[in-house]
Symmetry: none
Subunit: 248 residues, 2 copies
């Protein structure tokens, strides 16, 4: 049974080797984290190799949420961070692990659901994955030698989570109790806009279509959207379509 402690979910995105999934589970449980999600593991699920490597933390694997794709893994999350080796040019806030876990702690204390994404061993997260994150976590490693593996990156974030959770000041926060939109709701909003803008011929010229869509995705994920905001944004778009259909 998972511990009742409020905590972020750690989401392994398309992990390749079972051993690394097991090592990530151990890294997490060393610091009291036990909410793992696994998106489309290359070698299938459950994974014997993951279980063998996890040893005493095997419970995390038994209870891990398996998801076929990233949007379904994130659908209940209100704030998502993506770990990357190098901050890329994606116009998102970049945190150190320390700052990131302080942010996570603060949001979780408000009742938000926070997730941290980790990419596949070889290539890391793709830009399309990162587009679904609200912010980026980058470990400030030696610029001459950046070679953290998956479990080490999980370890540093877990370690910083424990530090942040231990140090947290209980503060009264004006955003506490805000009804934030979940990942699923933001995903639906993004799709709704993408579809209607496609119908309207917005993504033009064609060679720019993909980058325009990525920019739009990045904008939605960067916005601190409440559930009411999402309703309003849907409503405005529907109304424009009705206006068009009325033809007045």
């Amino acid at each position: 049974m998972a511990t009742g402690k409020p905590q972020p979910a750690f989401v392994l995105v398309r992990p390749q080797m079972g051993e690394n999934i097991g090592a990530a589970a151990r890294a997490m449980w060393n610091f009291g984290l036990d909410r793992m999600r696994v998106v489309a593991p290359r070698d299938g699920w459950p994974s014997e190799k993951a279980v063998a490597m996890a040893s005493g933390s095997g419970r995390l694997l038994d209870e891990a949420q398996l998801a076929p794709d990233l949007p379904s893994a994130l659908e209940d999350c209100t704030y998502v961070m993506a770990t990357t080796a190098r901050p890329r040019d994606l116009t998102k806030t970049v945190f150190t692990p320390e700052r990131a876990m302080q942010e996570a702690q603060m949001r979780i204390a408000r009742g938000e659901k926070v997730a941290v994404m980790f990419g596949p061993e070889r290539a890391g997260l793709e830009n399309a994955d990162i587009a679904q994150a609200n912010a980026i976590i980058s470990v400030p490693v030696n610029p001459e030698f950046a070679s953290l593996n998956l479990a080490q990156c999980v370890l540093l974030c877990s370690y910083e989570w424990q530090r942040a959770a231990g140090e947290a000041e209980p503060v009264v926060d004006a955003m506490a109790g805000t009804d934030w939109a979940t990942g699923k709701e933001v995903e639906h909003l993004a799709l709704h806009y993408e579809d209607r803008m496609d119908d309207a011929g917005f993504f033009y010229p064609e060679h720019k279509t993909e980058s325009m869509k990525l920019n739009l995705r990045n904008m939605w994920s960067r916005m601190p959207l409440t559930r009411a905001d999402v309703q309003m944004l849907h409503g405005m778009l529907r109304q424009m379509v009705r206006w068009k259909d009325r033809g007045d």
Copy 2:
């Protein structure tokens, strides 16, 4: 050639597997540390397996000081810390990795020679080893599950050294230098949406018009909008009007 940067020496005491020595070298060099000492490695020295695992950090192994026993490895050191899984009853100061590396940083800045000891994989340091240390470093892991391996313990200490030394490459925040929209631009955007939504009949029923407009204003002002976002949001709205006018 070792970097000229003042830093602690990391001393691997009777390490067993070459792979773990190589992984420790990588962990160190990720955070700019390159002074390794190796005491009586079980499988001999140099170690092919260590070199294979170290990949880009092989230089640390080439330059590592090999010592037959712990006293000769520590003979030039003025302050020694010993990592242990559990603080034992040895009447020594016990530091977290963070506090330990702050202490190391302060002493090194004064010109002291500081070493950090790491025990063999299976059993850790013996009490006789720890007796040679001035203080103990203990990572505050989950009391139900303490399973850090050698390279992970080296990694956390290296990470904390870098933080304490303040040598971290500043994480480049992709939002730094962001071309944020000005208040005037956000105001124009708000007016544009308000006007078109008025035309489209969005603000309905009439007794809710004011509060709907206020909610919309509040949403725009709460969003961290870049100039590019504002252009995109204008563009989407214009395109919807064009779509309507085309009447297709």
